[in-house]
């Protein structure tokens, strides 16, 4: 037995397993911000990454443009047909906007859940092991990014800010599995139906919307948007379109599978939505579980 403990390699292995468990436990617990050595390392590598990724972005963009050129004719035809409707639609939108503003003035409601300030950012890195789906963007605390802000692309919501350092921040995509990451959503039918986006089906590549009341009528191709309830995500960000509806395990709720509007695998430019409804600091201090429900 004494010889067993004298085995140097075994002791090193045991000690390193203990250190491993301690470190994983340390980094998994609910943290409001990263420790300063982590922030320092992330900022330094973020700087190097942006040095490399900006030129590659440029080159990739060039090839994408070349690809686009080949479909120009068909696209032009389709766009022309759409532009005819655009003028009348624009007039309508103007009218509605004016109406909305007047009514709001009457009610004396200045702020809405819809308001946000867009902050464009460029993706400078992505997690190579595709378990924790995360991207790194080039805007950080100095640009006003805060934890839990929603991040969108032109075609829809992609995730939320997970951690912020001075010059960069990490965005957790909706395709990563995290039981704490719930987003309140509205399915737009004749009457709006509320549900929670909870998880992602990796094999089908669809989002799972749970906790939909069982009586609600949901059809294929209805649009799903954020509800803005919870106060952290702004209202009316596009999430996706319904593909399939099924009964829950116990028949109390329905579950919808939603095809995300944004492509989670081809992301180059994103927009961080800075809300000003409630100070995000206040939400940060609450337990992470209730933040987005």
């Amino acid at each position: 037995m004494p010889q067993f403990f004298l085995n140097k390699r075994l002791i090193i292995l045991l000690v390193s397993i203990i250190v491993l468990v301690a470190l994983i436990g340390f980094s998994l617990r609910e943290r409001s911000k990263l420790s300063w050595p982590e922030q320092f390392v992330k900022d330094t590598t973020g700087w190097v990454q942006s040095l490399v990724s900006k030129p590659t972005n440029f080159v990739a963009g060039f090839f994408e443009n070349l690809q686009d050129l080949t479909n120009t004719y068909d696209e032009n035809k389709e766009l022309k047909s759409r532009i005819e409707n655009l003028a009348s639609l624009e007039a309508q939108v103007q009218e509605l906007k004016k109406d909305n503003k007047e009514l709001r003035d009457v009610l004396d409601e200045k702020k809405t859940l819809r308001d946000f300030e867009p902050l464009p950012a460029t993706v400078i890195g992505r997690n190579p092991d595709r378990w924790h789906e995360m991207i790194i963007i080039d805007k950080g605390k100095l640009n006003g990014v805060k934890k839990n802000m929603a991040v969108v692309t032109a075609s829809g919501l992609i995730g939320k800010v997970k951690n912020v350092t001075q010059f960069s921040s990490t965005v957790q995509l909706m395709s990563s599995m995290d039981p704490k990451n719930r987003i309140s959503a509205i399915i737009q039918g004749e009457t709006p139906v509320y549900g929670l986006v909870e998880g992602y089906d990796k094999e089908k590549k669809l989002l799972i919307v749970k906790a939909i009341p069982s009586g609600a009528k949901i059809e294929k191709d209805q649009t799903v948007i954020t509800s803005g309830l919870g106060g952290i995500f702004p209202k009316a960000l596009m999430i996706g379109k319904v593909v399939e509806v099924k009964q829950d395990q116990y028949g109390l709720n329905q579950t919808a599978l939603v095809k995300p509007g944004a492509d989670f695998y081809d992301i180059q430019n994103v927009i961080v939505t800075k809300t000003n409804m409630i100070p995000v600091d206040a939400a940060e201090t609450t337990d992470g579980k209730e933040e987005e429900s």
Partner: protein, 172 residues
């Protein structure tokens, strides 16, 4: 300049992995496949095989920690697995003779071990709930194929570089 060559090479591979997942389409090997590049780790394994256990494990620990902090935000997974598998590989190389084919096979084995190890750890901390068989089909085989291609291309330059480095170390 020569002193910084290795760290710069590893840093380049470190960023290359991130660029790979950003720009190479995910469905490169068919619709249901997720490919994980392990270019950095392949280079670390070649370093272990051609230069030595000590160098390999030190570099593996440093870059494992960097990987954890920058990409994963869970410290410990790669910090533990990189050096541990480098150590196992150095043990295997004690009974094998060092030639390029053996190095290729052993580093592929190392990458396979890493992929399974990371899966098991992520399963343990509830980052994933994929069952083992779908993990094998969805991620394991495609990952091995892509990394095998990478090692075939980069294996010989790595071997030359690291052999030179080992000679320089011996000369000191």
């Amino acid at each position: 300049m020569k002193k910084f060559l290795l760290p710069l090479l590893f840093l380049f591979l470190f960023i290359l992995e991130s660029l790979y997942v950003q720009y190479v389409p995910v469905e490169i090997l068919g619709r249901n496949s997720i490919v994980t590049p392990h270019f950095l780790f392949a280079a670390l394994l070649f370093l272990t095989i051609y230069v030595g256990k000590k160098q390999g494990i030190i570099y593996a620990a440093i870059f494992g920690l960097l990987f954890d902090i920058v990409y994963i935000e869970v410290i410990g997974i790669y910090l533990f697995l990189y050096p541990f598998i480098c150590y196992l590989v150095s043990k295997i190389m004690h009974i094998m003779q060092t030639n390029i084919v053996i190095a290729f096979l052993v580093s592929l084995l190392g990458i396979a071990l890493l992929e399974v190890g990371v899966y098991e750890m992520d399963y343990l901390i509830h980052v994933t709930n994929l069952d083992f068989m779908s993990f094998i089909n969805l991620r394991f085989y495609p990952t091995l194929i892509i990394n095998a291609i990478f090692i075939t291309i980069a294996g010989y330059p790595f071997k030359r570089l690291f052999e030179k480095h080992a000679e320089a170390l011996r000369a000191d």
